[in-house]
Symmetry: C2
Subunit: 461 residues, 2 copies
């Protein structure tokens, strides 16, 4: 029996995060509607200054505070596993490894940054965090982190999910967070939306606006807003995934991966596993690095690289990113975490530099892959994660055709125990295949035509 | 930072199960209504002969087939963790360790025996397994095991749970099992019940009868029935938990636990962690071993030791066990896995021998304990598991009062992500406290007054 789980001891946990920003001199900063670069001070009402410093830092290695490591040690380091049974099923010469982020208290990678953000906010004297959540992964992660650190937490949850996924809301309650359906009557913006559209199912854009309004509206100055993906500091906190994986691949006797794969909604779990290997690629290693998106929300493969708002209401700074336009409303696919119109600036920049080669997959192919996974490896994956598995299977089949012993590494970003409805639809033949009509795509992108163009200095191409 | 996770490599997995039956010469065998001991042949229509042999075996160590180990290696060995944050919260000198069985594909300890049972059935030429499930933990575990081994699986799920817990049913579907609400129209017994009581919410007793009927009714002889607790061979398969824990405690530098704790419904997760330490106790070690039941279903602390049926319909052999009478209907507490009228014969015999000291806990105290757990250790436990945590907290407080550095080990039998309704009731002050009236208890026990008495030979008292 060969070892299929590679564990690390707590002593072997990475002591520093890797900051890709140090190796990406051309990455474009956020700007205001006037086209001027946003200064750190302009963000101070929304985020604490210590996180803003991380956001703009060009240091390559940033120390992880010991107290954060203490909290992460509740579930980290997480195992690197060999997907031996999938390999056997596919009869592939590829060796497939995955980082199992599903073992965290929230069941996904999200707590890695939730803990760090809550800790830095607390250190800065903040007493309360606000955030938005769609399907609920991020809201539960922040509720968990705030519970452990003794911070108040308020989550604006998109109404349609609030009603359809009561379990996620109950998890937040267990960890002491307040969770309200968005739009709510608790903010001016929420009230205004409800007046105009009393029956709206809500959206992430609306929820973000409510959360920011509540944070900046606290006259005591003790409330801040927290975001679960997209921003540099969020991606930074997730690099612990790839840094652990590197150590574990060595233990497994692998010099390096040939292919690294992660699903990408806002980009944080993908960045977490991939960035430490992007560093190696910049330094000459040959590695194919693939962020995988849903074909129904194809910003990386069919969108444009431009300055755009992070939210639908246009309240955030403009970010240089691959985008479908901030007015884009993706179809209701089951991978809620992939229904975001833009891609993290740092990931977008990596695509521009030719370091990353994005791919898109249809949800039917994803559920087919998830079913193969459940019947070989035995675990039920999250709908988002199934996108990474789908491309892993594609690549393992290719390795078979080519007769090559490739090493594939992917991020198992979360389990699917709270999201089984999509499986049932697939099993009963009711799962829809979505392909985005060209006309709709063009219309959505046209809406940001007048926005400042994003031109990076291509350093690595 | 001290290590709080103690991992084992796959190479260190136990190669043999421990059979307490070898050290319990007085344990009483099942009998028929005529008072005669049931012969192995009489069980052959229900179970395959290789499992019946295990059921009656007196061998102390039974080899675990390599192929079963291969399947278990998908998640085993599971970590032993130090509950350091709970210790700090309680300011106890006790060192608290727990086996984390929640990391299995089904989220509980149940797959340990599901895999073994499916494997032995397959080896015997069986093509299909039937079973019953209440809340759904056992049904999902058997569905998982059958999926991996290529067996057909049919689960009769108590109707009230079938309707209220659709997620568990969907998990079974993902693993390819057929799950029907019980009573169903698919068996004679089910039809008969539906005719008499068309609106019945169902019961485990009815579901067991349906599952057995379907198994023995298959004329091809290729279907058998599978049970998730109570029987000797089921408890045997779970001893891998305690055997792993022993190795891990050594690595943690502990000579032995002073106290071992597990919640007990039918008895299998408790037996899993406890029996290897019962062996040590028989051989002179001083260890307090505590099975914990719900105060609303108090067979061990308020029931009698007698021969009784395993199911409500009276279709099983008579088992010598602590029981409240097979007609007992427990109140609808949230720990569905603890709502069983009897206790495994082997555990019952251990109580008779004075080796085990059972305790009962009210569900309000259990949820209080679960909330402390979620806010210190960070994980959300199953309602059943909260009973073990409640007594762990009791014992840790006692150690503090006595100023003693005790080593406490308990079994974290499963996570609570599929069972959050109880938490919500607790948090909104709607959770009921149940105490069983004496009159009701007496009435239920009176119903088995004429049954054969159970008198063990007390070897170890």
């Amino acid at each position: 029996m060969s070892e299929i789980k590679i564990n690390l001891s707590e002593k072997e946990m990475p002591r520093q995060w890797y900051n890709l920003n140090a190796d990406m001199p051309g990455c474009l900063p956020p700007i205001g509607p006037d086209g001027k670069v946003i200064s750190p001070d302009q963000l101070a009402a929304v985020f604490p200054m210590n996180l803003i410093e991380q956001e703009v830092s060009r240091e390559r290695w940033i120390d992880i505070p010991e107290e954060i490591l203490e909290i992460l040690a509740r579930w980290r380091p997480v195992p690197l596993r060999r997907a031996k049974y999938l390999e056997e099923y596919l009869k592939t010469p590829a060796r497939i490894y995955y980082k199992d982020e599903s073992v965290s208290p929230g069941g996904s990678h999200k707590p890695n940054t939730a803990v760090a953000q809550a800790w830095y906010n607390k250190k800065f004297g903040i007493k309360k965090l606000t955030t938005e959540t769609g399907a609920g992964q991020w809201g539960t992660a922040l509720a968990f982190a705030c519970s452990l650190l003794g911070l108040e937490c308020k989550v604006f949850m998109v109404r349609v999910s609030f009603d359809q996924k009561p379990m996620r809301k109950l998890m937040m309650h267990v960890w002491g967070a307040k969770c309200v359906a968005s739009p709510s009557h608790e903010t001016h913006f929420g009230k205004e939306v409800l007046k105009r559209m009393p029956d709206t199912p809500g959206s992430l854009g609306i929820a973000i606006s409510e959360a920011i309004e509540e944070a900046v509206g606290d006259k005591s100055g003790q409330t801040r807003y927290s975001l679960g993906s997209v921003l540099n500091h969020v991606l930074l906190h997730q690099t612990i995934i790839g840094l652990e994986a590197k150590k574990q691949l060595k233990i497994a006797g692998e010099k390096k991966p040939d292919i690294v794969i992660g699903c990408a909604g806002g980009g944080s779990n993908f960045a977490g596993i991939a960035f430490p290997f992007v560093h190696d690629k910049i330094n000459g290693e040959k590695i194919e690095i693939i962020p995988v998106e849903s074909s129904s929300c194809p910003k990386m493969t069919r969108g444009i690289f431009a300055y755009d708002f992070g939210d639908m209401a246009g309240m955030t700074p403009l970010l240089a990113m691959y985008t479908l336009g901030h007015q884009f409303v993706p179809p209701p696919i089951h991978a809620g975490g992939l229904r975001y119109h833009g891609m993290a600036p740092m990931v977008s920049h990596g695509i521009e530099e030719g370091l990353l080669t994005p791919r898109s997959v249809d949800q039917v192919q994803c559920y087919e892959s998830a079913m193969i996974w459940a019947k070989t490896e035995g675990f039920i994956c999250a709908p988002e994660t199934s996108h990474a598995i789908a491309v892993t299977i594609e690549e393992a089949k290719k390795a078979k055709e080519e007769g090559k012993e490739k090493v594939i590494l992917f991020n198992y970003s979360g389990h699917g125990l709270m999201d089984l409805a999509g499986y049932e639809k697939y099993l009963t033949g009711k799962l829809e295949r979505y392909s985005l009509p060209d006309g709709e795509l063009k219309k959505s992108i046209k809406a940001i035509e007048g926005f400042p163009k994003a031109h990076t200095k291509k350093a690595h191409k």
